[in-house]
C-alpha cells in the first residue's frame, strides 16, 4: 500500500484532481459507450419487430383486398348465369 490514509489516497500527492479527472472521465465515457451500444441493440430489435408487424398488417390487408376482388368478380360472372336460368 502506497498511501497512509484514505485522505492521502484521494489527494494523490497533490495531483488528486488530475488523476481522478482522468479516471472519472474514462469511466464515464466507457460506461456511456456500453450503455449506448446496448440501447442501440435493443432499439434495432424493436424496429425490426415493428416493421415485421406493420408488414404483416399490410400483407393481410392486401390478401383481403384480393379475396374481395375475386369474390366480386365471381359475382359478376354469376349474374348472367342467373338471368339465363
Amino acid at each position: 500500500m502506497q498511501f497512509d490514509s484514505i485522505n492521502a489516497f484521494f489527494a494523490m500527492g497533490g495531483y488528486g484532481f488530475y488523476v481522478w479527472l482522468s479516471y472519472g472521465v474514462s469511466a464515464l465515457m466507457i460506461a456511456l459507450l456500453i450503455f449506448m451500444s446496448c440501447r442501440s441493440h435493443k432499439k434495432t430489435k424493436e424496429q425490426i419487430a415493428k416493421r415485421y408487424h406493420r408488414e404483416n398488417k399490410l400483407r393481410e390487408a392486401a390478401k383481403k383486398q384480393a379475396e374481395q376482388q375475386t369474390q366480386s368478380q365471381a359475382e359478376l360472372l354469376e349474374e348472367p348465369h342467373e338471368s339465363t336460368s
Binding site: Y52, E55, L58, R59
Partner: protein, 217 residues
Amino acid sequence: MNSTESLNQPLLEANNLTCIREDRVLFESLNMQALPGDIIQVEGPNGSGKTSLLRILAGLSRPYEGDVLFNKTSIGKAHEDYHQNLLYLGHLPGVKGEMTAQENLEFNLSLHGMAPENAEKTLAEVNLLGFEDALASHLSAGQHRRIALAKLWQSKAPIWILDEPFTAIDKLGVKNLEAKFLQHANNGGCVILTTHQDLSFPENRVKKVTLQYRFFK
C-alpha cells in the same frame, strides 16, 4: 430468323440474382436470359425493383447474391469488354445544359467509341433537326431524352438496356423508337427495357419478366 438454332447462345445471362435495398428483398433467385432477337420487358409496380434489376444487369450495381454473365464470364471481370457491347440509358438523360445538343451527342458518341461525325444526321433521326446549336438548357425534358436516345441510331452494341425510354416522348417518337427496337432485335441484338406503356408489338414478340412488390422473404 429467331428460330435459327445457332442464335440460341444467350447474349446476357442472369443467374440467381438477389437484390436487397435498405433491408427489403426486392427480388430473390431471379434467373433470366437474353437471347439474340429478344425484346424483354421488365414489368412490375413501383418499388418492385425494375430499375435495380436493370442497373445490376448493366453492371452499375452489384447484386447481393448471384451473377450476371456476358459471354460466359461475369461482367464484374469482363468490365471493359462488356461495356463495348452494352448500351444503357437510365432515368437521367445525362445531358449537359451548358453544351449544345450536337456537342452533347458528339461527346456521348465518342465516349462510347462511336464516330462523332454523324451527330448532326442522327439528331435529325430523333426529330431534333434545327436544334443542333441550341444550348441543351433551352430544350425541354423530352428533347433531352431524344438527345440521349439518339445514340441508339449509331450504336453497334448488341445489348440495349433501357430504363423507361419513352418518358416524356410524344406518340410519334414512341412509334419511331418501337420500330427501332424491332429492327435491332431482328438484326440479332436484344433489348431489355422497362416501361409502363403497352408496347405495340405482337404478344409473342415480347418476353416479360414480372417483378412483384414483396414485403419480405
